[in-house]
Symmetry: C2
Subunit: 245 residues, 2 copies
DNA sequence: CGGAATGTTGATAGGTGTCAAAGATGGTGG
DNA sequence: CCACCATCTTTGACACCTATCAACATTCCG
């Protein structure tokens, strides 16, 4: 693991208002400030492995990491995508059930387990924020279950693209319900396939099909242009048939 | 919703040591005791519907409920199974994203939202317990994602049976790693299919196949006998290839 | 520039869904 | 108590979607 240490004040931290520390007051923030350390894991690096004991909990500051499980015969399923402000690890249990890998270079803000668990006990604002974040993750995981259990390959790929659009909109604050959008895919075809419960080939074919149908353009394999979101959304097959919030 | 009110002391509550109140001290328990009420929902009844606003949070005291989502065209995927001690609802958000239905008669221990949220703020023991339970649910959801994304129909059914065996073992404390086991299925074939992301027909065919292979016996459609767990476990295809913990 | 990794396309096979019908099961009322 | 009907479950035939195996194209880096 390639380590790069730095010192940045929590006050000017890019994930200050979204991470596990979002609801901290100045006093609590000072405590966290005192025990945190930064680590950067290079693209492709392992952040944690299933079954192994973690002595640090951390927040993703920048980059993109994957949470996945690999079966004995090599089949792999991604079960989570970690983006800036997402939290890694569970207070109260040292061992993880899933592998966590860096999909891009990832910078983490780490806390020693023992120290962080003490903070959880003394600072209800951290505990409450962590509960909210975990409940949100649970909703995401369950929507993902619906996708994996019931959607066709085409619907899965469309959902994937729309979720990227939505994320982008959340980060920039811009809410485009229609009009052209350009996306840089943070994942390779293989990772997208693992994300969607498909094979690389099927995933690639779906991209091709969407291109032939005029729903997307693919200047490069990692760049997707959606000429008009309104054409893509009707096929998403959400429970209410409407556009994604 | 068929309501039946009762009065039972928390002290002798069957889920006292596993539910959201598990870590409460006597003082906290007294507060909960004061605001709780019991409700029984008959088999097949709706406990909550996606999008609707919930003004009560509750714990399952007895019975079995399902958490699921139905798509616009009728496709349905179950994403959670609620058993005694499981919690329904999220503090801090009134609307649910999923439907919750009673698979058997279900008795709930309910708390008014506002009152419970106040307790969350004043009683760290409740908040902490809820966090632990939510983290556990997240792990379950993610394992379920692996099942839905990568396992074959046969593997899914075997996993389902083994998970029932494991649950039984947890409740009774008996840990049978081998030998014959008898199971009463709490779910219909349709519910099992929704649980596993399969159709009724495929699910039924898998039960038939397992019977023909001698791995299970089916005295009635709702009763499964496993002559020897050791024959079933190798096919579970867990990540480590080993038996289920 | 060259080789490895990544992505696309094709042919084929196999697993699961769909449509259809027959068998069990269980509850209800006569 | 039994007959009847609705519901649940099983089984069959067939179609279709996705996985698999294979080859080729492209991109990325060393």
């Amino acid at each position: 693991m390639n380590l790069r240490l730095a010192r940045t004040s929590c006050i000017e931290c890019p994930i200050r208002h979204r991470a596990v520390c979002a609801e901290c007051d100045d006093t609590e923030l000072a405590v966290l400030e005192g025990i945190k350390s930064y680590v950067t894991v290079p693209k492709g690096g392992r952040i944690a492995e299933a079954g192994e004991s973690l002595d640090h909990l951390s927040s993703v500051v920048s980059g993109c990491a994957t949470v996945s499980k690999t079966l004995a015969d090599g089949r792999r399923q991604m079960v989570g995508l970690l983006l800036p402000s997402d939290f890694i690890g569970r207070p109260g249990r040292a061992t993880l059930s899933f592998d966590i890998e860096a999909a891009t270079d990832v910078t983490l803000c780490r806390f020693q387990r023992r120290a962080f668990e003490a903070i959880i006990r003394s600072s209800p604002n951290v505990a409450r924020r962590l509960l909210t974040m975990t409940l949100d993750e649970l909703d995401v995981a369950r929507d993902w279950q619906v996708l994996l259990g019931r959607l066709t390959a085409r619907e899965r790929v469309i959902h994937f693209l729309l979720s990227l659009v939505r994320r982008e909109a959340t980060e920039t604050g811009a809410a485009h319900r229609s009009g052209p959008v350009r996306l840089e895919l943070p994942l390779s075809r293989e990772m997208i396939a693992d994300y969607l419960g498909l094979t690389i080939e099927t995933t690639s074919r779906q991209f091709t099909a969407l291109r032939k149908d005029g729903l997307i353009e693919t200047p490069t394999a990692r760049t997707i242009v959606v000429p008009d979101l309104l054409n893509l959304m009707p096929e998403a097959m959400d429970e209410d048939g409407g556009p994604i919030a």
